[in-house]
Symmetry: C2
Subunit: 165 residues, 2 copies
DNA sequence: GAAGATTGAACCGTCAATCTTA
DNA sequence: TAAGATTGACGGTTCAATCTTC
């Protein structure tokens, strides 16, 4: 493989520079970043247009419908979403203002709190889900073969594992 | 494959609901989103700690070093980064305040402007690049086989293509 | 003191409006 | 009128500080 000569200047003068990415690696890497950004943007825009929800709203509401009672402890929800607690707290405040969720005190633990799905919140996700699922299906699952999907998941497991070190 | 029964409630009452994702598909999909978020977070944190640059700063500076003159027209840079022009404009202002880049008028086109790499900007990316490349190598390229990398790029091409429709 | 949660400040990204020049 | 670019307002995210309860 060819080294990327356009970046030679970055390594001049260094004794043992880290090897830069090859052209091929760099194209792969940039394309990957591009897909990540575009995917989030497209999904968000569709969802927003179709149902007035953001991808984040959708994720929160989905977790709430996962539970039969429609309510979850804040920290548990934050962990499940892989969000910081403060991020969730801010987001809940904004969703509450729009009537999608409510807060509720926790009887067991005076420090704790629940997020509760409202009727409007349930209606919102029921309205949004079919279209969103169709979009995800069309962009991801319908355009990749079973083998590709399997390999993609293996790759993601490996990268995730590497991210934890 | 099993349908995800926990989500049955979302489709009750709809005549021809879009099929929800199967359990397997949903795990794959959520893991993919998780990897995207974690990857960006980890790379950003490392870069920030090691060199005081954000991933976005790094991208901008890299594009500037790609050009031998170290300056690019705003719109061209925005296109290359796949950013909105206004986003780039805001970002350039913040980077300018930190001395990493400067603006320069365009002699050919009175409306246009260049972003120019400063000495400090060049020093910053030369300092940041080796560590960042090492991180990317470790997390992505070293942990995946040649076949997996090839497949990953094919997958990304397909998804990207699907995103354009 | 530690855990659950919220808050405010600062920064980032998007959108619509604006300004200037072609 | 359209293209290049900037701006201000607004919502989203992080970080550190805070408050309460365990």
């Amino acid at each position: 493989m060819q080294r990327d000569v356009s970046r030679k200047s970055l390594t001049v003068g260094l004794v043992d520079p880290a090897p830069w990415l090859t052209d091929e690696e760099q194209h792969l890497w940039r394309r990957w970043l591009l897909v990540q950004n575009r995917l989030a943007t497209v999904l968000n825009d569709r969802l927003q247009t179709d149902s007035g929800l953001s991808l984040q709203d959708f994720d929160v509401l989905t977790r709430l419908t996962d539970d039969a009672t429609g309510k979850i402890r804040i920290t548990q929800l934050a962990t499940g979403l892989d969000w910081e607690r403060s991020r969730l707290s801010h987001h809940i405040r904004r969703m509450q203002k729009r009537g999608l969720v409510e807060r509720e005190e926790c009887p067991d633990d005076g420090r704790g709190a629940f997020v509760v799905l409202t009727k409007a919140g349930r209606a919102a996700i029921e309205h949004a889900a079919p279209g969103h699922v169709r979009t995800v299906r069309r962009i991801v699952f319908d355009s990749l073969s079973a083998d590709e999907l399997k390999m993609l998941d293996i790759i993601n497991r490996k990268v995730l594992h590497q991210l934890e070190t």
